[in-house]
Symmetry: C2
Subunit: 159 residues, 2 copies
DNA sequence: GTTAGTCAATTCAAAAAGAGAAGTGACTTC
DNA sequence: GAAGTCACTTCTCTTTTTGAATTGACTAAC
């Protein structure tokens, strides 16, 4: 199986990975959340090649994660903005950031998150939607749906 | 700049992306959190090539995300387990899952998360560590450290 | 005591993706 | 009218990925 088959999987993690789970896409999203909107700023700030950037922006637009908007007619100029679907990826980027801050940083974190509502610097954490307590890997148990369970048992075997 | 330069960046998101931000690594992590431990189960359940799997497992081991442990001496057999650093990536995988469930799923979610402490099916959400309220992109403001800000201004220009 | 099977890989050739430099077109500013 | 900006596209070269086959150290079945 190749990466191009990921979108057709049942697993929603695999599908999410197919849409945004590569190095450059994640960096583009980081820049989006830092307020970057323009092609050459993405180029400059991510260091990726223009070829790749153009390709990824097209893919993200086709998926509905970002939209391309003219901000000048003459000369024709475009900028890129997150859609609601795109903005919803914030949790993914923040989760990566928290992990990076904890495990990969020598000094202080390069980016702090301020919660506008309460005004404080915050370290967003995952909490249970039911009881509100913070939740980590060992507090949780995964329960597979029956179709998904069957699909997994069948995987990799001759039919 | 190539992907191989990502680990040397100041940004902890870029560093995190360099360690775990690719398609197959994210799928391996999904399997880890579902309890998969053995080489051929990863092969079967992710559909990736054995070459890639061996390579990624080595990289993750070198980074300290997983560890390789013998579970049988004769014949020599190994299994892979998450380290604490690896288990801490749970938030990333869950964030991807929630996004996938919301935006990419036709039917019910294939995987439910049960909070062992309270016994309920939960949809983990990011909350502010200070006030405890749920937090999303528009509630937050990024504040860059000065060194990082300067690095960004300098990026892509001749020195 | 062969023969088949399991598991954890490694090897190899072909195909796909990425990197880096250069070029393009529609303008604006000096 | 020359130079610069922005949003790309094109080109070649290199690296990575794919997919199939193979290996080696065993065990279990006949």
């Amino acid at each position: 199986m190749s990466r191009t088959d990921l979108p057709s999987q049942t697993c929603t993690i695999a599908r999410a990975v197919a849409q945004v789970g590569d190095e450059w896409t994640l960096l583009i999203l980081r820049e989006m959340f830092l307020g970057t909107r323009r092609f050459d700023d993405f180029l400059r700030l991510t260091g990726m090649s223009s070829h790749l950037l153009a390709q990824r922006l097209k893919k993200l637009e086709a998926e509905g994660v970002i939209r391309r908007e003219p901000y000048s007619e003459r000369p024709p100029r475009y900028e890129y903005r997150l859609t609601e679907k795109g903005r919803d990826l914030w949790a993914v980027i923040i989760a990566l950031k928290q992990w990076g801050d904890r495990w990969l940083s020598a000094e202080d974190t390069p980016v702090q998150i301020v919660h506008k509502t309460c005004g404080q610097v915050t370290k967003p954490q995952l909490t249970c939607s039911d009881c509100g307590e913070p939740i980590e890997a060992h507090d949780a148990e995964a329960r597979l749906s029956q179709p998904f369970e069957l699909e997994r048992q069948a995987a990799g075997r001759a039919p």
